[in-house]
Structure formats: C-alpha cells, structure tokens
Symmetry: C2
Subunit: 188 residues, 2 copies
Amino acid sequence: MTADTLTPAARRILDTASELFYHRGIGAVGVDLIAAEAGVTKKTIYDRFGSKERLIVAYLRERDARWRAVVERHLAAAPGHREAVIAVFDALEEWTRSDGERGCALVNAAAELSAPAHPVRALAVEEKQWLLGRFTALREAAGAPDPEGDAVELLLLHEGAAVMHGVGEVHAAIDRARLAARRLVEQG
Amino acid sequence: MTADTLTPAARRILDTASELFYHRGIGAVGVDLIAAEAGVTKKTIYDRFGSKERLIVAYLRERDARWRAVVERHLAAAPGHREAVIAVFDALEEWTRSDGERGCALVNAAAELSAPAHPVRALAVEEKQWLLGRFTALREAAGAPDPEGDAVELLLLHEGAAVMHGVGEVHAAIDRARLAARRLVEQG
DNA sequence: CTGGAAGTATACCGACCTGTATAGCTAGGG
DNA sequence: CCCTAGCTATACAGGTCGGTATACTTCCAG
C-alpha cells in the first residue's frame, strides 16, 4: 500500500476528495472545488495524482480498504463461524453510523461511471466478490449444506440494506438484514 | 398521466433520453446528444420539457410506471397471497431481461443526484415505499405474524438482487432472492 | 384562408470542466 | 552551498455544459 507514503498535501487532497465525492457524487465535484477545500493548488493535485480518474480510484481504493478493515475487526472478534456472519452486519451498522448515509461508494461510483471498461467497475466487482468469498468460507466452516447459496443470499441482504439506508425512509433496514442473517445461520 | 398527450417529437425525445440516461448515466448524457440521437433540435426539447431536470423526472416517472405495470400484471396472475410475493421476483426477472443490466434507474439516479431536496430522491423513496406497501399487504393477507418485518426483508432481497445484477459477476442473484423469498413465505 | 402549434436550422451565451504552463518560494540533505 | 522535492500563485487553453435567440417551414383546424 502506498497510503502512508503520501505527502501532507496529498493526504489532505485525498481526505477532502473522499468527503466530497462520497456525499455529493463524483460527477458533481470538480477538481477546482477539491483544490479550494483542501487548501491546495490544482497543480499539486495533478502532480500527486495525475488525473481526476486516478484520484477517484485512489479514493475508492482507500475507502474500500478502511471498510474491509472494519469487517475484519468484527470478524476477528466473533466467537464462532455463525456469529461471524452476524458480525458483518454489525460492521455495516458501525460503518454507516460513522461514515455516511449515502450507501456503498463503489456501487454509487459504478452507477455514475457506466462504461464497462472503467476501472471503478472492476473495483466494485472485486469488493463484492471478496465479501461473497468471506460469507462462503464462513458457511463452509459452519458445515452448511449450500455455502455458496447462503453466501449469495447474505450478500443480497447486505447490499439491499446498504442501498435502502442510502435512499432513506425505510426504517431499520440494517437491523432487519441482520435479523434475516441470524435466522439463516441458526436454522440453515 | 400525460404520457399519451406527447407530440411525436416529444415521444422520440423521451424514448431516446430513457435509453441514454439508463445505460450511460444521467450526468454522462448531454442535451445535445439526446437531440442528435432523437433527430430533433434542442429547441424542441426545451419547448416540450422545459429543462433537463424535468426531462429526467419525466424519464424516471415513465419508467417507474412501466415497472409498476409489470409488477401488477404478475401480481394479478398469482393464485394466492404467498405466490404473489414470489411473483414480484418473477416480475424483476422479466424486467431486467427485457430492459437492462444496470439495476434500478431510480437508485442510480439518486446516487448521481445527491442533493437531499432533489425531486428524484422523492421519486425513489416513493417507489420503494410503494413496493414495501405491496409486500406488507400480501403478508398481512397471508396471516403472517409480522407483515412489516417480512416486507422489509423482501424489499432488501429485491433491492440487493437489482444492485448485484447491476454490478454483475454475481451469478443468479435474482434466482437466489426468489428462493429466499419462497422460503420466507412458506415457513413464516 | 388564416393563425397558431409543432417543427427545423443555426448561431450564440456564460459558466464550468479537466488539464497545462510559467514563475517563484521554502526547507532539508548531499 | 546548492539542488531538488514539495509546494503556492496565477493564468490560460480547449472543450462541453445547460439554456436562449432568431428566423423559417409545415400543416391542420376554426
């Protein structure tokens, strides 16, 4: 990871861009705005990141890494394979509470940048399959008869909860997803 | 509904805009492109729709109406309240097969246009709560002990399936969602 | 037969976009 | 002591954006 080798200005740029991209959308945020908010010159942005697209990728990469770290922490604290599945939904709750009411950044970015060859699509696919793999392994370890089927279902509940949390006005989406997940692991 | 009172050119504009907005994203499609693809002058677009934003709203409204009609058709054909729940997922499968691989247009639009006061957010919320209400009524009619809880869970599966179908690379997401829904209604 | 509605064609506006160029400042290490 | 990395400041290029203005045509209904 190159995250720690960032210069101070680059750090500020990435933090500012993350905030703005996530809450206002990628297309709605220009490079000039990022520069102004970060207290930095546009030249510095282009010196450090090369282009807006690469800044977007850096933003999504870092955010994804932070999200995965939250999940891993919750997984490590779970006493067993069944509890670990539930812990992923605890991680989602913590994540959305601290970080935002706008759903999954990767999904949103993929919605904006629709070109099939765009790098953010690959990032999104990779993250979803990482989580899918996590769920599959946990259900395998728990001796479930259909680990992959369970994993897809858990992923659907997870993504559904993230989306509905993003559009809002549907109460306790994450709670309900966790409840369904608990029922799945307890009587599977 | 004002859909049938559209002039021929307006009809072409709305059809073209729907195609482009859905597959490329709203921000990625300019008014000039819509005009060119529809074989129409920009002036005609502004004469008929007033602004890009109102064209976007018209696009989402009409698409939503078509989607709801598909759902209603599947619901009407279902022999009972439990089968009707499953039928919604059949509707989703038919809908995505005929109309696109890019998930829910309302969710995507809400992801792009993040301003909380933007009209598309209200549209998205309204549609999700319509579907939620449908599910709730069906579970109530089936005598389920927790109709609203069931409805939220079904909505999560539905939205999750739509999203994962959009990012792709997760096989049989809709099939799995329907399977989970069937299990929910058969042993609730 | 005439007037208005629905178009086309073309040109333009100001704002904003990503990205580049030029010049100068500062601090730390060989 | 000077060179380079990292930065600031400012200006600008080239393009696209949503939206408007003007002038002409076509066609149908009162």
